[in-house]
């Protein structure tokens, strides 16, 4: 658990009301408390006191229990009923424990027996003010949280260990087509949230306390507004001691996104069939001709056809990669994330690429701290990212150099970087390096085969993880790609 930094709001001068029928006490209180910097108001009896409380807010009220007309008990009841934020301290004329206990039972915060010294008064008031501030802080935090949650366009619902609703924002209720009575305290099963979502909540509740996985599902709902596709994410919610005390469910309406995705997917299949298929058969036809099955070829004819063949191969590869990218992006809309042991993943990737490096006499090194907390990520996507970065580093480095993978924790992120001593990237190319099809074209890299999609794929994965990727480079001495990923334990 992280410590939350309390937001300190400029506290105005605390207002204190003293209600006592003894002028001597009133004046003494005023003198002592004014000196402390409080704004002090006085009332000579219960009626006057209640009148003043009705007109303005007091942070603390000191009230004598034994007064004519309206007793301190009655003032106390009135304050407790209508001013929950106000702290009441009772002054007991004759120090009977019984009265004091009685007053505490009715909601007094503390008591002070007459006669009291200025120090006693200061102490009891200081304690009350502190308590009042804490109450105020909690109220402010709650109000701020409530406003935030209610303003979200995503649906958010928190439920406790017994699957009772603790809070649900309007967007959530709207997404489950519920527009009725308040939901707080009712069982989640009382609402039509669907089997899938109930299963997610159950799974989140039984998740072992030492693991953290974001459970997701895509749910199709048929409601008032027609068919809607909702992405649900459910995570366990843990208390101070790390034990699960409930779940948080987030719903996002992805209907439009899915529709867009469907159109794109149709387009992708169209390209697949309409462009790739003819290219395929053209290549087969060329091959048959080149194999001499359609008659003898002259040397010149063969030469030309071989070049045509080469160009078509390049085109086919590019179409394939473009389709891969497109598929990858649509898949990322709802890919499941969990706590990924990145240290392990780095070790596997380094081992996997060692042979590739060895072919160019390139050494791969790994620098990872002993205990690297897991990142919240999709395992396979992360393998793709790391593979791409290492492959690039090897590809764009001269023989005999070194490629370094380093990982650290930085703030709430896992930061890893892949550094090479390669050709480097000219400054004018840096800002476009993550663009699709963008390739640095100079004397060092001209001969290197690539489509310019690898880094675009890497960036779309990192973006989908709410992370970031940056590159720094010095031509002639190497490049460093740095990725920040959110940690699982946040």
């Amino acid at each position: 658990m992280k410590e939350t930094v309390p937001v300190v709001e400029e506290p105005g001068r605390s207002k204190i009301l003293v209600v006592d029928d003894e002028p001597r006490i009133r004046d003494a209180c005023r003198m002592v408390l004014s000196e402390e910097g409080f704004e002090v108001a006085l009332a000579a009896d219960g009626n006057e006191g209640v009148q003043m409380i009705r007109e303005e807010h007091f942070d603390v009220i000191l009230v004598d229990l034994m007064m004519p007309v309206l007793s301190g008990f009655e003032v106390l009841s009135y304050v407790r009923e209508s001013h929950p934020d106000t702290v009441v301290i009772v002054i007991t004329g004759y120090a009977t424990l019984e009265h004091s206990i009685n007053a505490m039972k009715r909601g007094a915060f503390d008591f002070i027996p007459k006669p009291f010294t200025p120090d006693q008064l200061r102490a009891v008031v200081a304690k009350a003010i502190k308590y009042n501030r804490a109450l105020q802080d909690i109220a402010d935090t709650n109000s701020r949280l409530k406003t935030m949650v209610n303003r979200l366009t995503d649906g958010v619902m928190a439920s406790d260990r017994d699957k009772k609703v603790v809070v649900a924002n309007p967007a959530f209720l709207h997404l489950i087509d519920y527009h009725g009575e308040p939901v707080r305290g009712r069982a989640v099963t009382d609402f039509d949230i669907g089997e899938q979502l109930l299963t997610l909540i159950d799974q989140a509740l039984v998740m072992p306390d030492d693991t953290f996985t974001e459970l997701t599902a895509e749910i199709t709902r048929t409601g008032e507004g027609g068919e809607r596709i909702v992405r649900a994410t459910c995570v366990p919610f843990r208390g101070r001691n790390g034990v699960t005390i409930g779940t948080i469910t987030v719903l996002s309406d992805i209907t439009a996104l899915k529709e867009f995705d469907r159109i794109r997917s149709d387009f992708v299949s169209m390209v697949c069939h309409e462009v790739r298929s003819p290219m395929n058969s053209m290549m087969m036809q060329l091959k048959v001709v080149l194999d001499g099955l359609a008659g003898e070829l002259s040397g010149r004819q063969r030469e030309i056809l071989e070049r045509v063949s080469e160009k078509m191969n390049g085109l086919t590869t590019m179409v394939s990669e473009l389709l891969d990218l497109s598929r990858l992006e649509s898949g990322l809309i709802a890919s499941e994330k969990s706590a990924v042991n990145m240290a392990e993943l780095f070790r596997e990737q380094i081992a996997f690429h060692e042979a590739n490096g060895a072919r160019k006499e390139i050494t791969l090194t790994l620098d990872v701290p002993e205990s690297l907390p897991p990142a919240l990520a999709n395992q396979r996507s992360m393998e793709e990212v790391v593979t791409n970065l290492i492959t690039n580093a090897i590809k764009y480095s001269p023989e005999g150099s070194t490629v370094r993978l380093m990982a650290r924790i930085e703030n709430e992120y896992l930061r890893f970087s892949v550094r090479d001593n390669g050709y480097g990237i000219p400054e004018e190319d840096l800002k476009r390096i993550f663009d699709r099809f963008y390739r640095v074209n100079d004397e060092n890299t001209r001969a290197i085969v690539g489509t310019g999609l690898g880094l675009a794929i890497v960036k779309s994965i990192v973006d989908a993880h709410h992370g970031s990727i940056k590159v720094t480079s010095t031509p002639g001495s190497g490049s460093t790609f740095t990725v920040l990923l959110p940690l699982a334990d946040i």
């Binding site: 087969m284 891969d324 793709e384």
Partner: protein, 128 residues
């Protein structure tokens, strides 16, 4: 003639079927041709082939369907089927197998773009 192995090629792209046929015939196979799944099944019933090369994406009945039908029939389940698929495994390392990754009962598959020489090796292997 009769000792030549018969290979049925089913693809809706006529040019591809022709090119494949030329290559197969040059290697001394007999070739039957069909241009969609339904026609493919008719050809199989009229004369049992020794091997079927089957495109996945076809009108009327696609390659997966025809392959399933053959593999689930007592009569033709032993005929080797090689699927020609446009879906490469290039990104099977990521999650996105909604276009590929379909389980089939085919004996083998070759992804497009087709390496003709490799396809011929696979044909030979499956005829043994």
């Amino acid at each position: 003639m009769s000792d030549k192995k018969l290979i049925l090629v089913v693809d809706d792209d006529i040019d591809l079927v022709e090119a494949l046929a030329m290559k197969l015939e040059s290697l001394n196979y007999a070739v039957a041709k069909a241009y969609d799944g339904v026609e493919g099944f008719d050809k199989i019933k009229s004369r049992r082939p020794d091997l079927v090369i089957l495109d996945v994406m076809m009108p009327r009945k696609d390659g997966y369907q025809l392959c399933d039908e053959l593999k689930k029939s007592d009569e033709y389940k032993d005929v080797p089927v090689i699927l020609l698929t446009a879906v490469t495994d290039a990104i099977s390392s990521t999650n996105y197998t909604h276009m590929g990754g379909k389980t089939t009962l085919a004996d083998d598959f070759v992804s497009k773009p087709i390496d003709l020489d490799k396809l011929m090796e696979i044909v030979e292997d499956n005829l043994r």
